[in-house]
């Protein structure tokens, strides 16, 4: 287990053996099948840090994000926010706590109600929490939020269809910040944006973190972006943490992390990557193999890897689950 030496109350968020299963049927009368989207994840998120969670589609990173905010209930394990177990909180207590934990969604096109103007979208979280400012102060509050995320105040009465993707994502960020949260979960906030707008948005998020002392959990499939933006990197594969890099520049020791790194192209034709064509893709998440889930795609896999799943073990801050780690 990683990070168990840390006292959970010292971190803003602590995940303890977090597990989430989903069941479904292959067909109407088929037998029930269980998929473990997040499996036994233990992690501490210190205040003011940026933790990156990286992995391909289906690795459980978005499920993890939703569990952290209790938008999904855990199957087992717990999420502790300042030492309090979220599952133990009543509806009212959870609602109050939500002010302190917010989310920015991947798709700004669908995460804002198309019938809401920018003003209405920014006032909604305040209204829901019973914190809507008196009418005389509304305008100032909305303009302050817009200024914070670099939106021109002239857009206050615009509707989502009148905004660009980047502007919509800024509205999404402003909504998340309206309640002065401590933790912001960023679920692929730039995946649907042009690279130019992606870079703008990342620069804005960096600035906001500095100004407001925010803690980020940043979910992405883009390892080069995560390495640029995050203090620490959690690599997930099929629901499990396979490696935790204590700094963005720690060399990876898990072959999967290495493969992710080799997949992100640098803007330099002198440093072209050698891409080895992998034979397979992700195995069926409903029928995971007995051993290491990555073995089928791993160039260094041995019989041991196919028989026995490597446990996540930690050497100081660097955690790793691999029988044959890279040097």
């Amino acid at each position: 287990m990683a990070d168990t030496h840390v006292d959970p109350s010292a971190s803003l968020v602590a995940l303890r053996s977090l597990t989430r299963r989903f069941t479904s049927r292959a067909s109407l009368f088929g037998r029930k099948r269980t998929l473990t989207a997040v499996s036994d994840v233990t992690l501490d998120i210190a205040r003011g840090t940026v933790t990156g969670v990286v992995g391909e589609s289906g690795c459980g990173k978005s499920t993890l994000a939703r569990l952290v905010l209790r938008l999904l209930e855990v199957s087992s394990g717990s999420v502790l926010f300042e030492g309090k177990d979220l599952a133990s909180l009543s509806g009212a207590a959870m609602r109050t706590l939500r002010r302190r934990m917010q989310m920015v969604f991947q798709d700004p096109y669908s995460s804002i109600d198309p019938r809401y103007s920018v003003r209405a979208a920014l006032l909604e979280p305040l209204q829901v929490q019973g914190l809507r400012p008196p009418p005389a102060e509304e305008r100032a509050r909305v303009e302050q939020l817009m200024a914070m995320v670099g939106l021109n105040p002239s857009l206050v009465d615009s509707y989502p269809h009148q905004l660009s993707g980047g502007q919509k994502q800024r509205v999404g960020i402003a909504r998340a910040l309206a309640l002065h949260p401590d933790l912001v979960v960023l679920d692929e906030p730039t995946a649907s944006l042009d690279v130019s707008i992606q870079a703008q948005t990342i620069a804005l998020l960096e600035q906001l973190r500095q100004d407001l002392g925010l803690t980020y959990l940043f979910i992405s499939h883009d390892l080069s972006l995560v390495r640029y933006f995050c203090d620490r990197i959690v690599v997930m594969y099929l629901g499990r943490v396979v490696e935790i890099l204590p700094t963005a520049h720690t060399p990876p020791r898990h072959p999967y992390t290495r493969a992710l790194m080799d997949s992100s192209f640098e803007p330099d034709p002198q440093r072209r990557r050698v891409v080895t064509l992998m034979q397979g893709e992700l195995p069926d998440a409903f029928e995971l193999p007995a051993g290491c889930a990555y073995a089928a795609r791993c160039p260094g896999a041995t019989a041991l890897c196919r028989q026995e799943r490597p446990e996540l073990s930690s050497d100081g801050a660097h955690a790793l689950a691999c029988h044959h780690p890279l040097m």
């Binding site: 690279v195 707008i197 870079a199 703008q200 192209f265 034709p269 891409v275 397979g280």
Partner: protein, 320 residues
């Protein structure tokens, strides 16, 4: 003359002119990157090359497109139809919309070689399975019988590539073929395309907004901004000596290995919509180097080294 030679191509939609005198050339066995943000005119260029502009109410208003020496802009639709899928093929961004959800994927690949190469059903089928195997699809015969919803995004995009290859084309236009995919799958698809160009001597126009993909795959690069060529050059010079401030900004949007925190900039503002272009250099409202001359005069596209650049202040690239 180059295999594909586009000269001063302009495209009109209604009274607007979203593409203004685009030129580039491409030989077989080469990859040309067409780069720019959404709204730069990349996909419109692809539609123009494929003769698909009427679908969106557009038309070629000037210039020429020559494929292997013959002019395409004055080709009638039946003649264009014989060309599409046979000598030139398009791979579009979203594999989900390129595949018919109701038809087995293998049959969709078969149709191309039956129609364009006149193959029998059995011959088309074995050709499709061969192609799927070459694209590293495991158990291609099984995949041939599957429907799109049974496949992952990366597998679907491989099927779309197989469809593009089935008519044995010489020119492929790939419009953001990896944007909707995970980075690992993106790397695989780009590698497959590069291998195809090298092994079959295809000409590939690769449309992307990602300078990382350009650096990895392309031989030559054309940077478009708001419907005009900002800069064109061989890939090494584009990255070592970007002459246009827009090119430089695009490159700086991708974080480099070990880049210091807080140093990623992005490009302020957004691409203007067609009809709202600035006078003079269309990039000047977003450009840090802009002077009065940039607001007044359109910078001409001038030859510089092995490339061309359209900028009043391109003479002294900062990191040359």
């Amino acid at each position: 003359m180059a295999f594909l030679d586009v000269h001063d191509l302009s495209v009109g939609i209604g009274t607007l002119q979203p593409l203004d005198r685009i030129s580039f050339a491409l030989d077989k066995g080469q990859i040309l990157g067409l780069v720019g943000e959404s709204g730069s005119g990349k996909s419109l260029t692809a539609m123009g090359l494929m003769g698909l502009l009427p679908l969106i109410g557009g038309r070629v208003t000037g210039g020429s497109i020559r494929l292997d020496g013959s002019e395409l802009t004055d080709l009638a639709e039946p003649a264009y139809r014989a060309l599409r899928g046979r000598r030139m093929a398009l791979i579009s961004q979203n594999p989900m919309t390129s595949l018919d959800p109701m038809v087995r994927v293998g049959e969709q690949v078969d149709q191309v070689s039956r129609m364009h190469l006149g193959l029998s059903g059995a011959a088309a089928r074995s050709r499709s399975i061969d192609l799927l195997t070459q694209l590293r699809i495991p158990e291609a015969a099984t995949v041939h019988r599957q429907y799109p919803h049974q496949m992952s995004g990366g597998m679907k995009q491989r099927v779309v590539i197989a469809m593009a290859l089935a008519g044995d084309p010489e020119l492929i236009i790939a419009d953001e073929p990896t944007t909707a995919l995970d980075v690992t799958i993106q790397a695989q698809i780009i590698q497959i395309l590069v291998d195809l160009v090298r092994s079959r001597g295809l000409a590939l126009v690769l449309i992307t907004h990602d300078m990382g993909v350009v650096a990895q795959a392309c031989d030559r690069v054309v940077v478009l901004y708001a419907g005009r060529v900002a800069e064109a050059n061989v890939v090494a010079d584009i990255f070592a000596r970007p002459a246009h401030p827009y090119t430089r900004s695009l490159i700086e949007c991708i974080p480099r290995d070990g880049q210091a925190p807080g140093s990623l900039k992005g490009i302020p503002g957004i691409v203007p919509s067609v009809g709202n272009y600035a006078a003079g250099c269309r990039f000047h409202p977003r450009c840090a180097l802009a002077q009065a001359v940039c607001q007044q005069q359109v910078p001409p596209l001038q030859t510089q080294g092995q490339g061309q650049v359209a900028c009043h202040f391109s003479a002294a690239p900062s990191d040359g």
